[in-house]
């Protein structure tokens, strides 16, 4: 009874991302085969699998970057917060706003740290110009969320591109937050970082869970194990197994999963 009342007062989707019968072709090459996934809202889900298994392709179709290539064909649905983002009435700008993306190589813009954080906010709030103090608050809260505030608070006018790689990657995550996305996609966010930077960014991702649904592609199985709650193993464009991370690594159901996590191929 209580649960029902709560659900009615704030209708939160149980699954942030649901794909059904998702097939994707690059030209004539089929990269995804009938992918059916339910990704839990507010959790960190990692995508693992050998190179070329389609994990990045899957990630990239969740905010429709793939279609920029022109020769990509997609069948099936991807529902984000219960709305198919491939419906014709969906505005691409809103998709990009709601679904943030973090890349392998940190790509801060060559403008100040402060302007980097405010960039998304400014493009999505053109009509109601926010006051200077509002902007300061936005910058402070975004940088605090990514555990960067104490390090950069005295040099907000420095260029984002002058930070260390680890700080750049944190900045790239921070700049997504002011527009309040519901999903964050991360494509091997730590692979350009040293071990210390990796640990720091992993810690940050872990801090963000609950508030955002995070889907993270990684080559690094240790990272998937440390920094995700659910884990999906893909192979040759198909989902082989989707389980709670601990279960997938300790008691994999499929033989392919077991072989992969034991390092027999990859």
């Amino acid at each position: 009874m209580n649960a029902t009342a709560k659900a009615m007062s704030e209708p939160v989707a149980e699954y942030a991302i649901r794909t059904s019968k998702l097939n994707l072709w690059y030209g004539t090459f089929q990269a995804l085969f009938d992918v059916d996934l339910n990704i839990c809202n507010g959790m960190i889900t990692s995508l693992i699998g050998p190179s070329g298994c389609g994990k990045s392709t899957l990630l990239r179709s969740v905010n429709r970057i793939n279609e920029r290539l022109g020769y990509v064909r997609i069948e099936g649905n991807i529902d984000v917060m219960d709305k198919n983002i491939y419906d014709p009435d969906v505005e691409l700008v809103q998709v990009r706003k709601q679904i943030g993306m973090v890349f392998q190589r940190p790509n801060p813009l060559p403008i100040s740290i402060r302007d980097n954080i405010l960039f998304g906010h400014r493009i999505h709030n053109k009509d109601n110009k926010s006051s200077k103090s509002d902007q300061n608050e936005i910058v402070e809260s975004a940088l605090k969320q990514v555990l960067l505030w104490d390090k950069v608070k005295d040099r907000l006018n420095q260029r984002g591109t002058e930070l260390s790689l680890e700080e750049q990657q944190k900045l790239c995550i921070a700049r997504l937050l002011p527009v309040k996305p519901s999903v964050l996609l991360m494509d091997e966010p730590c692979s350009a970082l040293d071990p210390k930077g990796t640990a720091a960014v992993e810690e940050l991702i872990w801090e963000l869970r609950g508030e955002y649904t995070i889907l993270i592609v990684t080559h690094n199985m240790a990272q998937a194990r440390r920094a995700s709650e659910e884990c999906i193993f893909m192979l040759m464009g198909k989902v082989v197994e989707h389980q709670a991370t601990e279960d997938l690594f300790v008691t994999p159901e499929q033989k392919e999963t077991a072989d992969y996590i034991e390092g027999r191929y990859g």
Binding site: R105, I111, I123, R159
Partner: protein, 289 residues
């Protein structure tokens, strides 16, 4: 074990030979520049003075200064820039930031390359037909400048595209993935980072425009005028044509006069080139990624 073998010696000798050969070719490049400048300074330097720059020619152009020609060149170049820069930059932005790779853009590319290959005298005749006669501008600064503008458009487009292309694609990706439109991306990220390159290209174009003679001699530049231009529909004198005139068309010109005119012309070009280089160095120093 590590001693030099006969083969090593021979390879080294060949390597040195080629190094010296290429070095000599490079030095060869400098020689004409040095000779030109030295001759101009030696033969024309004596006539250069404030008076020479700022007074009218007298005695049937055999004495006096070059002020009307100097001013005319500034007029023609300025108006040509006003026409070619907006057009060229806009076209370059379209080609680099919006256009996909299809038959339409390929035709445009081809047109630009061909436009760059058209000889200046052909541009001149086109200018006469199009601007002087068809549009009815008469022989005027406007017609001359538009002719020059069309001639220099490929340079503006190509150099602008180069500087747009130098902005890393990752910046655009970053913007698009935050939901920025193409225009927002161009306006806020691409242009601010390309502007130094674009300006450099523009200044280089200016220096090219300054020395052109053929395209303006039928369309707007006059042999001699007793008055200064008052607007874009007036004819004007120009330095490059003035040089041609005093060097070949007027009898009894003292030797140092044409050399002086040439020196002023080349000094203008070099000055603008150095400004462009200094400017580029300044802006490059500021940008880091």
């Amino acid at each position: 074990m590590f001693a030099e073998s006969a083969l090593n010696v021979r390879n080294k000798r060949v390597q040195n030979l080629f190094r010296i050969l290429f070095l000599m070719m490079t030095v060869l490049l400098i020689i004409p520049v040095v000779i030109i400048l030295a001759t101009l300074i030696a033969k024309g330097g004596s006539i250069i003075s404030i008076d020479f720059l700022f007074t009218d020619p007298t005695n049937g152009m055999t004495a006096g200064g070059i002020f009307p020609a100097l001013l005319g060149t500034v007029w023609i170049v300025a108006v040509a820039l006003l026409a070619s820069v907006p057009l060229g930059v806009a076209a370059a932005i379209y080609l680099n930031e919006y256009a996909g790779d299809n038959w339409f853009t390929r035709i445009i590319q081809l047109a630009i390359i061909n436009l760059a290959g058209v000889p200046s005298i052909v541009h001149a005749l086109f200018g006469v037909g199009a601007f002087v006669i068809f549009f009815g501008f008469g022989t005027s600064i406007l017609a001359a400048s538009l002719t020059l503008a069309i001639m220099t458009l490929p340079v503006v487009i190509v150099s602008t595209r180069e500087s747009l292309r130098a902005v890393p694609q990752a910046f655009r990706e970053a913007c698009w993935n935050m939901g920025a439109t193409r225009w927002q991306t161009i306006r806020r990220v691409v242009l601010p980072n390309a502007v130094s390159g674009i300006l450099t290209g523009v200044i280089l174009e200016v220096s090219r425009t300054t020395g052109e003679t053929a395209p303006i001699m039928f369309t707007g530049a006059a042999f001699f005028l007793p008055f200064l231009p008052q607007g874009v529909f007036d004819q004007t004198m120009a330095l490059s044509l003035h040089l041609f005139v005093v060097a070949t068309q007027v009898p009894g010109v003292p030797d140092n006069l044409p050399f002086g005119v040439a020196l002023v012309l080349i000094a203008m070009v070099l000055l603008m080139n150095s400004i462009s280089i200094a400017f580029r160095m300044y802006l490059r120093g500021k940008k880091k990624w």
